[in-house]
Amino acid sequence: MDNVLQFEGVSIEYKMKDVSIRAVDKVTLPVVRGKITAIVGESGSGKTTLVSGILRNISSPGEMVEGDILFRGKDAPEVSVGSLDKRALAAYRWSSVSMVFQASQSTLNPLMKIGEQFYETAYYHGVRQPYKEYRSHIAQLLESVRLDAPRVMDCYPHELSGGMKQRVMIAFALLLEPEVIILDEPTTALDVITQYYIFRILSEINREKGITMILLTHDIGVVAKFADYVAVMYAGRLMEYGTVYEVFDDRLHPYTDGLIRATPSLFADLSKMEAIGGEVPDLLALPEGCVFAPRCKACMEICKRERPQMHAAEEEHFVCCHRFAEGTDAAGTR
């Protein structure tokens, strides 16, 4: 398997005065090169914290307390992201892995024209061409996300609509031709039609340039549309991982099953829809065994006592559930 990134038992904790919150707990997850991996989870499931480990910008007081993230660039040896020194890290960020942040509309500098912002970043990464010459490169990027490049380049952010700003941010992430782009809820607050086009542009970039993408979302529909691989997270733990077809057709974890069945759809039989009972877990008071046990319909005795391990169902399909280990999969509850 050719993985561009590999999480190895990563745990991230937020240490407060007298408590510490484990936002990510022992996550082992591959990111396959050239493919789109979606990390699905509700708010507080730790997906943003997990990927911020890739760029090593976990917001304080968060800290990676366990595990390692390995990055293997094209034709380059494997490096541990945690061991990069200051210079290597500066070179690695954005030119190897870039990110489209959540609410990225507000990440643009309101005082600078779009083109200048692009050039600024390129300059700090060693581009020494004058701005006038570099503009053609920026124009190319903006055109690749279907923007009217000559106009947009000389615009200030407030002159653009939400969908345009989002596309500017995607072009911005492409600036240094990274190998991986992280997309953190790239289409929240955008219209359905705009969302459709943004994902189409992203798929084209993925196909043509072979850039690996990591998509963080809570929208099951978007996952079905866009992703090749799906990782389902709940309360900081990885629940299920597999190709999008495996996870949707043959979902093994009761949480995945519940989530998909609780998602309104234009086609699904409404009488078969069902809500997941209970409340979202409190990270300060997590249950001892499986974190999903209090809401799980197929909960057994062992689930309340012991933490389940990751089990391989297929070559690329993993699930973290006692049911699977015992041979009765979650499908039994369907």
Partner: protein, 332 residues
């Protein structure tokens, strides 16, 4: 007819320039809407299409520049003050942002008791009444919630408190503005179920405002739907009809773009039938002409009339000539 809106117009003033007349934004253009008792009606549209404005007009939070609102047959802006008071109590609004809608310095009990005391004049048994309301919205046991502050509750629980507050007035109509957009995904469906239950068991009429067609289908499968675009209602009819055979080109595009949680369908779906990516409208003629595949010269001029056919109203000159479109097209 429980509620009838006739040719409602709302303008918002844009920032006033130093010189010259203030610019106006036409937020609602001749919107007519009718709701029968016991129905669930959904209003769908993208952000900025005027759906929240319409919700505010219905609940009386915003007075339209022109047009008539009749509740139970009585015009609410030219009736007796006691009738107006009755209307305001009988039509309740459930806001989108539950955090902003609750006073952070008041406990849930305090937030709920004030309207009951003020409007219903109840002085005794308030605790029982509020307990019943919380049980009705499935916040059990109520004692656990009464003393809590809004920040101690989850988004779903806060939204239920808002619903309880609306229900405390024993309303005939509840207008819910995107009530699930700030709730965790796994809890959304339970909230939709609650709305359906209130409608079924208490006979409360519900107007559900959303941008998500799948949710609309889920809440109001047997109800009716209004599709809005740039302040105009472009299509209205029975939910199942609109979702299976949309007539307006905009509805067709919207339906194609909605992501379906099934990779087998989603990965092979055709493109939305659209000419341009950007939503734009210059105020002349049809609001959808710049993105419409079928638009011609005449679509850009004058006023576009509604085209009515077996209970379906479509704001399109060519509604009858356009090729039939079926949702089955999406599944290859």
């Amino acid at each position: 007819m429980l509620l009838e809106l006739d040719k409602i117009n709302v303008y918002y003033e844009k920032k006033t320039p130093v010189f010259g007349a203030p610019q106006k934004l036409h937020a609602l253009k001749d919107v007519s809407l009718s709701v029968e008792k016991g129905e669930i009606v959904t209003i769908v549209g993208e952000s900025g299409c005027g759906k929240t404005t319409l919700g505010k007009v219905i609940t009386g939070l915003l007075k339209p520049a022109s047009g008539k609102i009749a509740f139970n047959g009585i015009d609410v802006y030219s009736c007796m003050p006691w009738d107006y008071k009755k209307y305001r109590a009988a039509v309740q609004f459930v806001q989108q942002d539950s955090y902003a809608a609750l006073n952070p310095a008041r406990t849930i009990y305090q937030s709920l008791y004030y309207p009951i005391r003020k409007r219903l004049g109840m002085r005794r048994d308030l605790k029982e009444k509020i307990g019943d309301l919380l049980r009705l919205v499935e916040l059990t046991p109520p004692e656990q919630f009464l003393k809590k502050y809004p920040h101690q509750l989850s988004g779903g629980q806060r939204q239920r408190v808002l619903l309880a507050r609306a229900l405390s007035m024993s309303p005939e109509l509840i207008v819910a503005d995107e009530p699930i957009s700030m709730i965790d995904v796994s809890l959304r469906f339970a909230m939709l179920e609650l709305f359906r239950r209130l409608n079924r068991e208490l006979g409360i009429t519900i107007i559900y405002i959303t941008h998500d067609l799948s949710t609309a289908r889920c809440v109001a499968q047997n109800g009716r739907m209004y599709v809005m675009y740039f302040g105009e209602c472009v299509e209205c009819g029975r939910t199942e009809d609109i979702l299976s055979k949309p007539r307006h080109p905009y509805t067709q595009a919207l339906l194609t773009a909605v992501p379906v949680p099934d990779p087998h369908i989603e990965k092979h779906k055709p493109e939305p039938p659209l000419r341009s990516l950007e939503a734009a409208h210059d105020g002349e003629g049809c609001c959808f002409k710049q993105r419409c595949l079928y638009a011609d010269e005449a679509c850009g001029q004058g006023k576009i009339g509604y085209c009515e056919e077996d209970g379906r109203i479509v704001l399109c000159r060519k509604a009858k000539e356009l090729p039939q479109w079926d949702i089955a097209n999406l599944i290859k």
